[in-house]
């Protein structure tokens, strides 16, 4: 097919495309078109600005594009949800693993005869054994009883739950 043939064919095609110019909307369609748009704009302004979707479009267009992927491909949202679940599961497993690890650490530090580190070991019995610790001229003494100071009926408890702490400066 040479150039002139192409040109002729396109002329024929353009005639065909002329048909599109004769497609018209229903009679009177444009009569209220602008009024409808203005009413929608007014309604948007009256409701205190644009809707959330509109604001999101302006402020985070990347997020809107991301969400549109889900609209276009429903399978993607399933994959995304599955990956989120797996991530959550992974997080739980890691958290459980990390919970068990510090016990080993505390055991090690306790055996290294570090008084302050050993105070982190849970248990009332261990805490009662603490001797006053001196740090830079301040003596800290603890009362190791862990019973409430006042019981439910307002009576003084012999062994309160809190630990009273006394600070004494040594005048260093």
């Amino acid at each position: 097919m040479n150039v002139s043939e192409n040109k002729n064919n396109f002329t024929e095609l353009k005639r065909f495309l002329n048909l599109k110019r004769h497609e018209v909307p229903p009679p009177g369609y444009f009569n209220d078109f602008s009024a409808e748009i203005v009413a929608r704009i007014r309604a948007g302004e009256a409701s205190g600005g644009r809707n959330f979707a509109g604001q999101l479009q302006d402020q985070a267009p990347w997020l809107v594009s991301f969400l549109r992927i889900f609209e276009a491909r429903p399978g993607v949202i399933g994959a995304f949800a599955t990956s989120l679940c797996l991530l959550l599961l992974f997080g739980v497993v890691v958290a459980e693993y990390s919970d068990s690890t510090p016990q080993t650490i505390f055991t090690t530090t306790a055996s290294a005869s570090q008084p302050l580190a050993s105070s982190a070991v849970p248990g009332v019995a261990g805490a009662t054994a603490f001797a006053p610790v001196s740090e830079g001229g301040i003596v800290i003494s603890t009362n190791a009883s862990l019973q409430p100071a006042v019981n439910l009926f307002g009576q003084q408890n012999a062994s309160p739950l809190f630990q009273p702490v006394g600070f004494t400066t040594t005048g260093d």
């Binding site: 043939e5 095609l13 353009k14 599109k20 497609e23 229903p26 078109f33 602008s34």
Partner: protein, 207 residues
Amino acid sequence: MIMSEPATAPDASTPAGVLEGDLVRRARNGDLHAYDELIKRYQERIYATIYHMTSNHEDANDLAQESFIKAYSALKSFKGGSSFYTWLYRIAVNKTINFLKQRKNKYHLSLNDIDFNAEHDPDLMALISDKTPLRDVGLSELQKKLNEALLKLSEPHRMVVVLHDVQGQSHDEIAEVMDCNIGTVRSRLFYARQQLQGYLAEYIKPT
């Protein structure tokens, strides 16, 4: 009424162009009467472009309205680097292309009626003369075939054909609206026409 008369942006040097600038300035300050005037000025062209792209009246109605609403909300960002008309057109074109990308190939035709003038259009009469393969085909069937063929084109190719061959815009205007260079517009137009010609081969008179 012929919907898609050749669309030319108002010249800024003419009184109409100055008036447009004034309308835009007032609309930017929240004057909805001014914006109403701008809508009336461009509603038919914007609607027609979207309609020819979607081949669906309802979609075209929604997208045209949303384009005007978006343009109003974005008026403050309109710097005046191009005419308001071109800027508005760009919004409508981008909105339509995004919509069509989401819709993928799932389309259904909701075609407008053909006006009475079509029967007196010399081009169409020549097309349906006794010497063509279209002699036994009615205008409505031709309309359906043409729209189906257009929908087979990719969005950018369809847009170029619609803007140039249906809307009558120049290559320069199309390049500005579609944010590409003129060479791209020309090559897209040529390729799109070739494709269309192939799809409509049985309806186009052989040379």
